[in-house]
Symmetry: C2
Subunit: 220 residues, 2 copies
């Protein structure tokens, strides 16, 4: 049978059926569900910088366990941008790292007057300068102030279930009163990771979601 | 010709072609473009409340013309939530209205400790209480504090071009580094309206867009 024997009317009918089927799939297809963790502004420090801000021999003290072996410390600093505007009492997360880093929201960046780029944690080359003030000292970082890039932490098992690989980019839907889709969400896979999407306070508030809410992964 | 004369292989081929065509349409289909206007926190007041806060016989003075006959006034107030936390220097928009209203971001609501609902401007029944302090007086509003609902202002001509009606709901895409789709965006059509999507500072910062940027309307 030759394909020219299909009439235009039949093609239109089949096309309509396919479109309806695709629409239905889109409407009812529930993507992989991911709990949300909202990251408030916070600071990571090297041990050297902990001692500079809190005194020689000082070690961060644990206030609350977080995922992946991290903890919220009892210690806080005041951060100051180049225009001398400040945000007080910014929490330090432990344990200490190889490089100090300040993670703020875009709203904070405007308040502080700093041009913080959107970056993956740890990627601080060319990021914004910022000053930190602690009870025993002050520190000027010539780089290290970033707005964290949206990402999802997954164990290898979660990644397999979701059909995703480390480094993939997906879109994620928060289906609620505000209703928001976040594009360019990076997938990070590691044995130590608990399934969670990390967003900042701007993103959480714009989408009306909070820690403990869930979102769904749309196709990447 | 009977439709049963189409083979399964042909159906699959046609389906594939249709899907490719739809995919292409989705990829290249540019939705109706809308400039963005970001609304910072602001206050609308009745004339009675202007006089209560700024003195008897006082009238708001114009600092800058805004769209739709509104203006940013030179006058500002400090707003205080129930937990006595304050945000200073919140701009008043004129002209005076029939009811006083305070529009804040969800980030502000958390800072102030007020439970402000997401509402269309003017719909303040059951909204949050808030206090306002001016140079000549203070005012406690038992209702009137809201987070503004996302919306797009359109003239009837714009609405016709976009194929939309007053009250429609659409999704809107900001296609940039962060990449965000805002659902449940209300269409408001009026002769006095200039084409603009109004979002708050949380939404702007979460999506990395600013006044003057443009977004595109996806299908509703």
């Amino acid at each position: 049978m030759d394909k020219n024997s299909i009439t235009d009317g039949q093609v239109a009918l089949i096309a309509k059926m396919v479109m309806e089927a695709m629409q239905q799939k889109q409407d009812t297809g529930k993507g992989y569900e991911v709990p949300v963790g909202v990251s408030a502004r916070h600071v990571h420090l090297t041990q050297e910088h902990v001692e500079l801000l809190f005194g020689e021999g000082y070690h961060l003290t644990k206030k609350k366990e977080l995922m992946g072996g991290q903890f919220a410390s009892n210690e806080m600093v005041t951060i100051v941008g180049l225009k001398l505007r400040a945000i007080e009492n910014v929490r330090i997360l432990g344990p200490v790292r190889k490089a100090s880093q300040v993670e703020i929201s875009a709203t904070d960046a405007i308040k502080l007057g700093v041009k913080a780029p959107i970056r993956e944690s740890g990627n601080i080359e060319g990021s914004a300068p910022i000053a930190l003030v602690g009870p025993k000292g002050a520190l000027y970082l010539s780089k290290g102030c970033i707005v964290a890039r949206r990402h999802i932490h997954m164990s290898p098992k979660d990644a397999m279930a979701a059909g995703l690989l480390d480094g993939d980019e997906v879109s994620v839907k928060a289906d609620n009163e505000r209703g928001t889709v976040f594009d360019h969400v990076q997938i990070r896979v590691h044995e130590s990771f608990t399934l969670e999407m990390h967003i900042d306070t701007d993103e959480a508030n714009a989408a009306k979601i909070a820690t403990g809410d869930s979102v769904r992964i749309l196709k990447g």
